[in-house]
């Protein structure tokens, strides 16, 4: 039985999708899988149970039978935070150990969803570092390399975990950085006995956000097109130039959302005339009926928000790259990328796993 902790150098690096992708691959290779989320940070209620959104997602996707209380023994709620400050929280570690023992029976691999750093959870006595030690887990470290590779964090993790760190995966690598990483970064880590198990390229679809998610984040109101709420948005544009420029600029990208003041019919029209996934009207300003009719004709959803354009952009900016992957289309693509880009031969070797034949 192998406990395998999936950890990352920062929050929102893509751990959940990674757990899912790895889990699916392991299952295909004949392994029996369990999943444990020791510290759930996204509280959600399922029936009467308070649990974690990631746990629910992975339980469903990997068809796991264990109850949610065992998948996620500790959920960080407002109550728990305050109690922890007041020194009233004890025995969380025991809860985690109990859960671990229950779910691991008869399993080959226990995937453990870690935190945004090895120290995360120290506050509650449940840091990843501690969990890795207590369960003698092997660790895969995921790094969001969209802008920079977090070399310092990775080296620190190696110091803390030593040989239990079986390798790192660089996620969201932009195409123009791949060569650099192959030529410079991988050899650098190899010299320090850190294996790079895979490089996952940045994918616009995986980074996308659905029209429904956008509407929820912005507390917007659908003026039209609620039925197209699963359409995915990959890029955002702010419409504040003149209409001629806007068309020039808009026609170059599809799957885009245009954020524009509701009182700019010219820009709204430019957005509707070019391939657009969604138009967000700011300032609580209703467009006129002609524009609504046009949106209907072009089947482009229109969302009205109360905020001004700047605040709207800020909200979008804050949330991009932080969304949980939920849409089937994205999950499939993510799993495909993981299977294709990760060197499973190396991973199995480092983890001491032998591929089983699927029954």
């Amino acid at each position: 039985m192998l406990p395998l902790l999936i950890e990352s150098t920062e929050s929102y690096a893509g751990k959940s999708l990674m757990c899912l992708g790895l889990g699916l691959k392991f299952q295909r290779d004949g392994f029996k899988i369990a999943y444990l989320k020791p510290l759930g940070k996204s509280p959600i209620k399922v029936g009467k149970i308070i649990t974690d959104e990631d746990a629910v997602f992975i339980q469903g996707a990997l068809h796991l039978d264990e109850p949610l209380e065992q998948l996620c023994p500790v959920v960080v709620t407002q109550d728990l935070i305050i109690d922890a400050y007041d020194g009233k929280v004890r025995g969380l570690d025991k809860k985690v150990v109990d859960a671990y023992q229950k779910i691991s029976r008869g399993k080959d691999i226990i995937l453990i969803g870690g935190g945004g750093s090895l120290h995360e959870g120290t506050f509650l006595g449940l840091s990843s570092l501690r969990i890795a030690r207590d369960f003698q887990a092997k660790v895969i470290l995921l790094d969001n390399a969209e802008h920079e590779v977090n070399v310092d964090c990775i080296l620190r993790a190696k110091e803390g975990l030593r040989n239990n760190l079986i390798g790192i995966i660089l996620n969201r690598v932009p195409p123009h950085r791949i060569d650099f990483i192959r030529q410079r970064v991988i050899p650098f880590f190899q010299k320090r006995e850190i294996d790079v198990l895979g490089i996952i390229p940045l994918d616009p679809l995986l980074n996308s956000i659905s029209v429904r998610e956008l509407q929820q984040i912005l507390n917007g109101q659908f003026l039209f097109g609620e039925e197209y709420d699963t359409d995915l948005i990959e890029k955002f544009f702010v419409g504040s130039m003149n209409a001629d420029k806007a068309i020039e600029y808009f026609k170059k990208s599809k799957n885009k959302a245009v954020i524009v003041g509701g009182d700019r019919p010219d820009i709204i029209l430019a957005a509707l005339e070019t391939p657009t996934a969604c138009v967000v009207l700011t300032g609580g300003l209703y467009p006129n009926d002609i524009l609504l009719a046009k949106a209907e004709e072009m089947k482009i959803p229109m969302i009205l928000v109360k905020d001004d354009t700047y605040s709207t952009v800020q909200k979008v900016d804050k949330i991009l790259g932080r969304l949980r992957v939920k849409e089937e289309k994205k999950v499939k693509l993510g799993a495909k990328l993981i299977e294709r880009e990760i060197n499973f031969t190396l991973l199995y070797k480092k983890a001491g796993l032998k591929k089983k034949r699927k029954r």
Partner: protein
């Protein structure tokens, strides 16, 4: 104070010209042609004589005393000219020249320097970039406009010079006379406030008209206008009310047009008559200039045809005037003097075969009826009518009586001569009866304004010092957006009743708080990052037991985190639920020109969708507060419909006044919302269930 602008004994024309087509030529020509009685000194270094007058090389070469200087040379000489003015003791300048602020930064710099220097030297300046001014009583035409209006009792100031020229031309055609005509230009020094003050005491002016694009100091303007409008009607067209108009105005004058709702409220509170169009401006002006103000709102209609009379009656209802009901005596007399098929009830139809005498007889009876405050005489040009004769009779009667008579002689060719008679005899004529009725409405409003006692203000005993301390502390912590907790404390210092409320950090605390306050309850997220609590699922109402408290607590805290991953959650406020009552919203937003603008409306869709709200500028008088409540369309819902109990309007009014006191005491509040204020049944008071306050930066 501005006497030298209107009645100078001598005028210098700096930049006078002998070349037709130049502004310096036209100004001098206008001065000479208008029979100005004082002395004119043209200044131009290149000529010894211009248009028959001796010309001087410079101002300093003139040996006489000078009251007024007209500046028509390029902007760069203005500072030197100010020095010369000082030497010659000239304290008034009309700067006609363009090329200042309106042309860009170089011009703006000169204009700023000019203003500073002029202030130091106590020199007043009209303009620059203006048409000049006209005073018909002193025969002074210091403009380059073609044509001089006839003498009259209307004063007109305008921020647009071009509009001045158009109106002058039109007035000449219509035979409308003016007392003063002032083009304000860039309003660098003298502006609408100065001229309002001057015209208020000007004996030759009976009505003040203005066309404005922007108002510089809104509060001072209101203060002055409120006084002036008690002396004579002030009618203003303020353009730039739409966003397109505001855009155009800001690029035209470089000043903010001001929000439409503030302007509307400010004009109303200052007794200014707002004319939406220039057409209305003159329709109103003519009536005030020529006719007495009606003492009431009971209007009689006299017509020789059915249709127009009915339309006028419709308009009377539409403009909320009253169709006068005649005394029995008048009815009898009308019956005996009119053909049997005539209608002797208001609107009086003296039928198609009416002649001038029948008009005379009927009008005489109607106008003397004590139940009539004003009469509209409608005439359609039938074959039998002597239009001129009828006009004479109507006009003669109108001048004998203290009641206003307006006319609507409908048509064009056949009524033209009659209308001329009316014009000459000062009976305003309107092409269509509806326009005349609208004028009656405006006049009647003005009479109400005159009758209204001086605004009374009510102040309450409040804990101003405490609020000052709270604000100071918030400022010290750089906390400009005060959430519900602080806002509640502040408004309760100003006498607002707030529901009991306890902040809970955990669900256990929430349950304890709930037991203490008692069910049913309201629970709300407390977070400085969340302004629209309901939008993020941050409000739960009708909580009935501990179990629901626990559930709601979890849902509120986890949902709020979900939507705004970095939202700071200070806890959940457990609040007494105020049962029954109507939800209203009180709001304040600070207008850059007029100060705190107070809003009132019924909560929910009434404000958000229907925009059914009223506005006034603080401080509110008792009357203002009363009007605000009654003005909204949904007022009947507050008063109680279908057997509902009326809500506590007295408490609502008091809260508006208390709110006004708060924002007047603390002008650094830029935004304040009390939403909802729950107004209970009459006598049971009101509760501010939620509030937030934003302070000005800096």
């Amino acid at each position: 104070m501005l006497k030298n602008f209107f009645e100078p004994k001598s005028v210098v024309v700096l930049g006078a010209s002998a070349t037709p087509g130049k502004v310096g030529y036209d100004v001098l020509k206008n001065l000479i042609k208008s029979n100005y009685r004082g002395e004119i000194f043209p200044v131009n270094p290149k000529a010894s004589e211009i248009q028959g007058l001796r010309a001087y090389p410079s101002i300093l070469d003139i040996n006489e005393d000078i009251d007024l200087l007209i500046y028509i040379i390029p902007p760069q000489f203005i500072l030197k000219t100010l020095d010369d003015c000082k030497k010659k003791n000239i304290d008034s300048i009309i700067a006609i020249s363009a090329g200042f602020k309106e042309t860009g930064s170089a011009g703006a710099k000169i204009e700023r320097e000019m203003l500073i220097k002029a202030k130091e030297m106590n020199i007043r300046i009209l303009g620059p970039n203006c048409l000049g001014l006209i005073d018909t009583s002193s025969c002074l035409n210091a403009t380059f406009a073609p044509g001089m209006p006839s003498e009259g009792n209307i004063a007109f100031f305008s921020q647009s010079g071009a509009l001045c020229i158009a109106i002058l031309d039109w007035a000449l055609g219509e035979g409308i006379g003016f007392s003063k005509f002032i083009s304000l230009g860039n309003k660098s020094d003298l502006g609408e406030i100065d001229f309002l003050k001057y015209l208020a005491d000007d004996e030759s002016t009976k009505v003040i008209l203005g066309y404005l694009e922007g108002i510089e100091d809104g509060r001072a303007f209101m203060r002055v206008a409120r006084e002036v409008s008690k002396k004579k009607p002030v009618i203003i067209t303020k353009s730039g009310g739409t966003s397109a108009g505001a855009k155009a105005a800001s690029s035209h004058t470089g000043s903010l047009a001001g929000s439409e709702k503030s302007i509307k409220a400010a004009f109303h509170q200052a007794g200014i008559i707002r004319a939406d169009t220039v057409n209305d401006l003159f329709n109103y002006a003519l009536a005030f200039a020529c006719q007495p103000i009606p003492k009431g709102s009971r209007i009689a209609i006299l017509s020789n045809s059915g249709g127009p009379g009915i339309m006028a009656a419709d308009a009377i209802e539409q403009y909320k005037l009253n169709l006068a009901s005649f005394s029995r005596e008048t009815q009898e007399q009308l019956r005996s003097s009119l053909p049997t098929i005539a209608s002797i009830y208001n609107p009086v139809d003296i039928i198609g075969d009416a002649d001038a005498d029948r008009y005379h007889k009927s009008l005489e009876l109607i106008i003397n009826d004590p139940n009539v405050d004003g009469v509209l005489v409608i005439l359609t040009p039938t074959a039998v009518i002597d239009v001129q004769g009828a006009a004479e009779k109507v006009a003669n009667l109108s001048s004998e009586n203290g009641k206003p008579v307006l006319a609507s002689f409908m048509g064009k060719v056949s009524v033209e001569k009659g209308i001329k008679v009316l014009q000459r005899k000062k009976v305003p004529n309107y092409n269509y009866p509806e326009s005349a009725i609208k004028v009656f409405r405006i006049m009647s409003d003005y009479q109400n304004w005159l009758n209204a006692p001086d605004a009374s203000y009510q102040t309450f005993k409040v804990r101003q010092k405490k609020v000052g301390t709270i604000f100071a502390k918030a400022r010290k912590n750089n906390l400009l957006k005060l959430g519900e907790q602080e806002a509640r404390e502040i408004i309760s210092c100003y006498g607002f009743k707030v529901p009991k409320s306890i902040l809970a950090l955990t669900s256990r605390e929430a349950i304890l708080a709930a037991e203490q306050i008692g069910y049913p309850l309201v629970m709300k997220i407390v977070s400085p990052d969340i302004l629209h609590k309901t939008d993020v699922g941050g409000v739960k109402v009708d909580i009935e037991n501990a179990h629901q408290v626990e559930d709601a607590f979890f849902e509120i805290t986890s949902k709020s985190r979900q939507y705004l991953t970095s939202a700071t959650i200070l806890g959940v406020s457990i609040q007494e639920m105020v049962a029954g009552g109507k939800e209203v919203i009180l709001g304040v937003s600070k207008d850059p020109q007029f100060g705190p603008l107070i809003m009132f409306g019924l909560g929910g869709i009434y404000v958000e969708v229907l925009k059914d709200v009223s506005f006034r500028i603080a401080p509110l008088s008792v009357k203002d507060a009363d009007e605000m409540i009654r003005e909204i369309h949904s007022f009947p819902l507050l008063k109680g419909v279908r057997g509902e109990q009326p809500t506590d309007l007295a408490a609502l009014k008091e809260y508006l006044l208390r709110l006004s006191q708060l924002v007047t005491d603390f002008p650094d509040i830029v935004e304040l919302d009390i939403n909802p204020l729950i107004v209970k049944a009459e006598g049971e008071g009101a509760f501010a269930a939620d509030a937030r306050i934003t302070l000005e930066e800096g």
